[in-house]
């Protein structure tokens, strides 16, 4: 029950991301999404709540809800930008695409016979949808920050899938994954910082000196 609620919220947040041009807002949305997903495993296995699940939840919330936003906001401050410059795909169109992607992910989810721990017809589709939405953000936006966000959403999608399906994923693996996600964002943050200092802009589409 709770799971489905969260999943629906995840879907909605994704659509919101597709529609919003203000980077600050997007970062907050992603943060919120992170927190919800952090809670997901706990809610998914309320009955056999174990230490490692709890730890995992805490870690996730801390990272996705606190650290990442902080990193990104710092990047924003460095670059003194607040909004996305005119993107490749307009916001209305983006949302429409998003809906199409949602449909697609439901279709795919249907074809994908995975038996979830906590049976929920929404789980796989919403996970896939997050992945697609993340990809879309990366492809359709120009600000580097937006691409980091897209990457995070993608991560979230996979994470959803992970906690929802393979409850028995070894703790070590989870930890490694979290760590990697963290480092990834960290690295990207630094990259954004460098890029901004080198080019005094963070518009990725202007990074096209290397071609051919």
């Amino acid at each position: 029950m709770m799971t489905n609620l969260i999943l629906v919220l995840v879907v909605l947040t994704n659509l919101k991301l597709l529609g919003s041009s203000r980077l600050g807002a997007s970062i907050r949305v992603v943060a919120a999404q992170g927190v919800m997903l952090g809670l997901l495993p706990v809610l998914a296995h309320v009955h056999e709540l174990s230490l490692h699940l709890a730890a995992l939840a805490v870690g996730t919330v801390a990272l996705k809800g606190v650290v990442f936003p902080w990193l990104l906001f710092r990047a924003l401050r460095e670059a003194e930008v607040t909004r996305e410059v005119e993107p490749y795909v307009g916001y209305i169109t983006s949302i429409l695409v998003g809906l199409a992607a949602l449909a697609a992910s439901f279709w795919l989810g249907g074809r994908l016979p995975v038996s979830t721990v906590e049976p929920s017809s929404l789980l796989v589709p919403s996970a896939l949808f997050s992945i697609l939405a993340g990809l879309f953000l990366i492809v359709a936006r120009k600000r580097a920050v937006n691409q980091v966000l897209g990457f995070l959403v993608l991560e979230n999608g996979i994470y959803t899938f992970g906690v929802g399906i393979v409850a028995e994923t070894p703790f070590l693996v989870e930890l490694g994954v979290l760590l990697d996600a963290f480092v990834a964002v960290f690295v990207m943050g630094i990259a954004v910082y460098h890029i901004n200092r080198e080019f005094d802009h963070i518009e990725v589409d202007r990074l096209d000196r290397l071609k051919g």
Binding site: Q147, I158, V166, P170, V173, D180, A191, R209, L210
Partner: protein, 505 residues
């Protein structure tokens, strides 16, 4: 017990060296320490791998660490490349130190990341848990990211950004695939620590959920394929290779790509068995291989930047290796052989490209000409490796490609044969057209000839001789090793097991 310790050491030694590097005071000592650390792990790794290749797999840490023929073989090659590249790094950076291009900070950064990357790659090879294997790959990506911009410039930053972003996305897919594999094992009653263990999965491969497995393999192939530089996911590769310092490029195309490809190979037997040995996954591999060869051919034809040219050669050869694995049977054997040949040859090429680039101050082949006269040793290295790369006999690459072709013909994959020959032909035409002026063209008067030291000469001669010898004579041990490694990929399914790939009866 002894092996356990060794396996742990394999990761610890480079990690510690990396940490140590951050403490040291002078660039030279740092580089020295780095080489020492790498040297030790090479020795360790070869020892363990040798044991494995002679007397079967070893595992440690409740089976989380596992080394079988396939991983051992890859480990050996990887360490060989790493050793060579570290030695070369000395040569390369000594020149930069002379011109004061390398600050202490940069040296520390480089050394620590270099060792860290080694640790991460080793982790990939020795971990039995597919999740940890993935962690290793991701770690490699992130650590090497900074290696690209040891010298921070606009281009190097751009390259790094593309590299990080694209590879992260790709590798994220790979994780999705890993999860799906785990999901496909659902209901087999594997306990939490076991579910992602390769050995376990492989034991139950027959009874995994096919649909799930297919989806998983697609995610894995696209994901790891991105890291391995298979077209059309290869676009980050030329940028990263051309911007990174030569030793890093050497490692990149010398073995990081193969590491990612190794992960795919790991899944091949599971997927094949899971999908009823219909060759479903193999067809995918063949397709990607051919596309990569053709795309690379197109870009090699029109390339002007030497390092980008080499990068596209990597795409081509990764494609060839993938094709080989996809053809199965003898092809697998040949693909693994080709891995060794290509890595050796490509590292040599990048060594030469790096040094010559330092001498000429450019990698633009319209200016970089007549290297045979300017620097005979490195010139020979570059020309030789280029000839080898385009498949001129009697270099070893000709041999492995010949066997892959044979595999294609024997499995009646005539289309593959034709496309491969066409692609290779285009590559030959294009690359030779670049190589001849490179070797003998008219040199700008500003460039002054440079003598090559003993170490440099060794770095050129050793790989070349190695390639020549392997082209004319395959030692028995190598052959058994290759067969053992290949059997890991193909033994599961009779459909895969083609001709043994040994000496003709």
């Amino acid at each position: 017990m002894k092996h356990e310790a060794l396996l742990w050491l394999l990761i610890l030694v480079p990690a510690v060296t990396g940490a140590l590097a951050l403490r040291l005071r002078s660039a030279r000592t740092i580089l020295g320490a780095m080489c020492a650390g790498v040297g030790i792990s090479v020795a360790l790794g070869w020892y363990v791998a040798g044991k494995v290749l002679l007397s079967g797999p070893v595992s440690a840490g409740a089976e989380w660490l596992y080394l079988d023929a396939l991983s051992a073989y890859n480990l050996v090659v990887m360490l060989l490349i790493y050793g060579l590249s570290s030695a070369y790094a000395l040569v390369y950076f000594r020149a930069e130190l002379r011109e004061g291009h390398l600050t202490l900070k940069q040296a520390r950064l480089f050394a620590s990341l270099w060792c860290g990357a080694l640790a991460a790659m080793t982790l990939v090879f020795i971990s039995n848990n597919l999740g940890i294997m993935w962690v290793g790959i991701e770690a490699t990506t992130l650590l090497t990211g900074f290696l690209i911009c040891v010298h921070v410039t606009g281009e190097s930053l751009e390259a790094m950004w593309k590299y990080i972003l694209i590879c992260s996305v790709g590798v994220a897919f790979a994780f999705m695939g890993t999860l799906l594999v785990g999901a496909s094992a659902h209901g087999l009653g594997l306990s939490a620590p076991e579910v992602l263990l390769w050995t376990r999965l492989q034991a139950h491969a027959g009874s995994l959920n096919p649909a799930c497995l297919k989806a998983a393999f697609i995610f894995l192939l696209v994901g790891y394929g991105t890291k391995a530089g298979l077209a059309p996911m290869h676009n980050w590769l030329p940028d990263a290779h051309s911007q990174a310092p030569a030793p890093v490029s050497a490692i990149f195309s010398g073995f990081m790509l193969n590491t990612a490809l190794y992960c795919v190979m790991r899944y091949v037997p599971i997927v094949e068995a899971g999908t009823g040995n219909t060759g479903w996954g193999l067809r995918l591999l063949t397709g990607f291989g051919l596309i990569s060869i053709l795309v690379a051919a197109a870009f090699i034809l029109f390339q002007h930047d030497l390092k980008r040219l080499l990068a596209y050669h990597s795409v081509e050869h990764i494609g060839i290796i993938t094709l080989g694995v996809g053809l199965g049977g003898l092809g697998t054997f040949a693909a693994l052989f080709h891995t060794l040949n290509h890595s050796l040859c490509k590292t040599l090429a990048f060594f030469a490209a790096g040094r010559l680039g330092q001498m000429f101050g450019t990698h633009d082949m319209r200016k970089l000409a007549g290297v045979m006269r300017v620097a005979p040793v490195w010139g020979m290295g570059l020309f030789g490796s280029l000839l080898a790369l385009i498949g001129v006999a009697p270099f070893a690459l000709f041999m492995s490609e010949l066997q892959i072709l044979k595999a294609a013909v024997d499995s009646r994959a005539i289309l593959a044969l034709v496309l491969f020959l066409f692609g290779a032909g285009v590559v030959f035409v294009g690359a030779l057209g670049h190589a001849i002026p490179l070797a003998w063209g008219k040199t700008a008067s500003t460039v002054q000839p440079a003598r090559a030291g003993t170490l440099e000469t060794l770095l050129v001669v050793v790989p070349l001789v190695f390639l020549l010898v392997l082209g004319l004579w395959m030692p028995g041990p190598l052959q058994t090793a290759l067969n053992a490694a290949a059997d890991v990929i193909r033994h599961v399914s009779p459909a895969l097991a083609g001709s043994p790939g040994g000496i003709m009866p």
